[in-house]
Amino acid sequence: MMPRGSTRRREGYVQRGTITSAWAEGQFILTAAGRWDIASAQVLETQLRAKAPDRQEASVCLDLSGLTALDTAGALVIDRLLRRLRNQGHQVAVVGARADLCELLREVQRASQGIATPMPLPAGPRFPFVDRIGRVTVAVGQDALAMLNFLGLVTVTLLRLLRAPGRFRWKPFAFHLEQVGLNALPIVGLLSFLIGIVLAYQGADQLRRFGAEIYVVNLLGIGVLREIGILMTSIIVAGRSGSAFTAQIGTMKVNQEVDAMRTLGLDPMELLVLPRMLALLVALPLVAFFANVVALAGGAVMAYAYLDINFVQFTRQLQIAVSATTLFVGLVKAPVFAVVIALVGCYEGLRVTGSAESVGLLTTKSVVVSIFLVIVLDAIFSILFSYLGI
């Protein structure tokens, strides 16, 4: 049984389609034989381009009696040949095709007739660069407006929830609290520890020249508590959780789950957006505080190993260098960043339409936009604090 099947298969490959041409009785005769299928289509197409009658307005006879098999690709090659010959003004007659092959040929001819020649692309703008800048500017403006609109919608939903606090979804809230808070601790901790080490090392290298090694603690304390801790945490969380929000909600949109919610009278804002945002609002300050502690610990380890500042000295100097205000100036930014990350993540998720591709695109966009906004807001905070003299 097996050998037979494989013999037939091999035959099929050996019996490639062929085309020969000859002049006979004033007629140009093209003889096709063998299997005219997709495997031989390329060879046949190139051979046929070379085989045209060398007289004007000759009568051509295409003899298909030798065909053993034909598929749509082969039929299309024949069809193209016929069209080409007729366009050149030759008389063409097709003879000898088996009935079933003839039917396929006719089918393909019918299909290829309906093919409209592809429309020429509309002319592009004269200054594509300027055009692009304009489009991007408008798109960014519209995006910003839509995001503001979304913030308003979230606020309204939140206010409505305050009137009926019993409706709050504690289960998803707890779930997301674990996801964005607890589960983020290892990665945030590790990275903060390393940042603490790097910062202490670089600071120590510079300060040692002045014999002021102990001020590494000041550098570390103020740098980490005011800026680095919260910024690092926000960026990691934006990459980790902001993207997850977009991907989760986006996938639900692709599956029409969000539509299903609406038809069941459930509010996606209340069900999907609020638990995520509130969970992040609670988690981010805590995670940022954790990052602060770990980064300082990393710095302390480095100070001990590299500068011989022991933990007692480190702690004493830290107490002198920073106050509770330093810590709060850093942490007060956390809720704002949390809202921004959750807002962007959920907003982009809800903008997903139809395809899986758009989930990927918008997830990328969500991460980029939220990190961008976090850094811009951080700069604004810095300016604000310096005005306020904090």
Binding site: G5, Q42, T72, A73, S112, I115, G354, S355
Partner: protein, 259 residues
């Protein structure tokens, strides 16, 4: 139409067993499909119709048993042989499974670009012919899958399955989710293509009208095995599920429609 006079079956499944953990889905499935035949695959939900189809096309491994397609044991193939064999069949997934980032024409061109070295303009034209052959307007070719209706997506998926001019066409619920007129038109399309391209077709379906309209024989999955026969054979079967299937109100209506 009577099954073609080939002595060698195009697909032969023998002694097939499929188990997921403790759950046995197939236990000794045997059947074969002849060249040029349209075989319907039916069965209740969870009887493993789609699993069987996925096993034949190599998307899943059966626990035991032998599957021969075009005379080749699908589990004993090298990577190259597998690819060569895969080019000889096409599969239409339930919702088309078109690549969402590509237009319909580009979707159809994917296998052609991957497996052949045809010139670009010929590939383009083949794709346009396939679009026309499955009854889509030429403007549909430049659209993305998300811009198409469910029925159009199925037609586009069929065009992609036919891109390489396969000998076998596998269909997973081709008419599910289509309106009756659309479903009829799709049945007719498959029947016509089957005849003009000489295809062997294996289709999983729940649509009794499709069974009556285009299937030569039907394989019914019951009790983890397969019962194969023409509709008239199966109408005489006294297995309770098969009896209910063909003699239930829907079965009777579809049978009456055949006249």
């Amino acid at each position: 139409m009577i099954a073609g006079g080939e002595d060698h079956p195009v697909i032969r499944v023998s002694g097939l067993r499929t188990r997921f953990g403790q759950q046995v889905v197939h236990d000794g499935v045997d059947f074969s499909v002849a060249k040029g035949e349209v075989m319907g695959l039916v069965g209740g939900s969870g009887t493993g119709k789609s699993v069987l189809l996925r096993e034949i096309v190599g998307l899943m491994e059966p626990t035991e048993g032998r599957i021969e397609v075009l005379g080749r044991d699908t589990r004993q193939l090298s990577e190259r042989e597998r690819i060569a064999l895969q080019a000889r069949w096409g599969m239409l997934f339930q919702d088309g499974a078109l690549f969402s980032s590509l237009t319909v024409l580009e979707n159809i061109q994917v296998p052609l670009k991957e497996h052949t070295s045809l010139p670009r303009d010929l590939i383009e034209e083949i794709a346009r012919v396939k679009v026309a052959m499955v009854g889509l307007g030429s403007e549909a070719g430049d659209k993305y899958p998300s811009q198409l209706s469910g029925g159009m997506r199925k037609r586009a998926g069929l065009a992609r399955a036919l891109a390489m001019d396969p000998e076998i066409l596998f269909l997973d619920e081709p008419t599910a989710g289509l309106d009756p007129i659309g479903a009829n038109a799709f049945d007719e399309l498959i029947g016509n293509l089957q005849k003009s391209l000489g295809l062997t077709v294996v289709m999983v379906t729940h649509d009794l009208d499709s069974l009556y309209a285009i299937c030569d024989r039907i394989a019914v999955l019951v009790d983890k095995k397969v019962v194969v026969g023409t509709i008239d054979d199966l109408l005489k079967q006294d297995h309770p599920w098969i009896h209910d299937y063909f003699h239930g109100p829907r079965g009777r209506a579809a049978g009456a429609a055949r006249g």
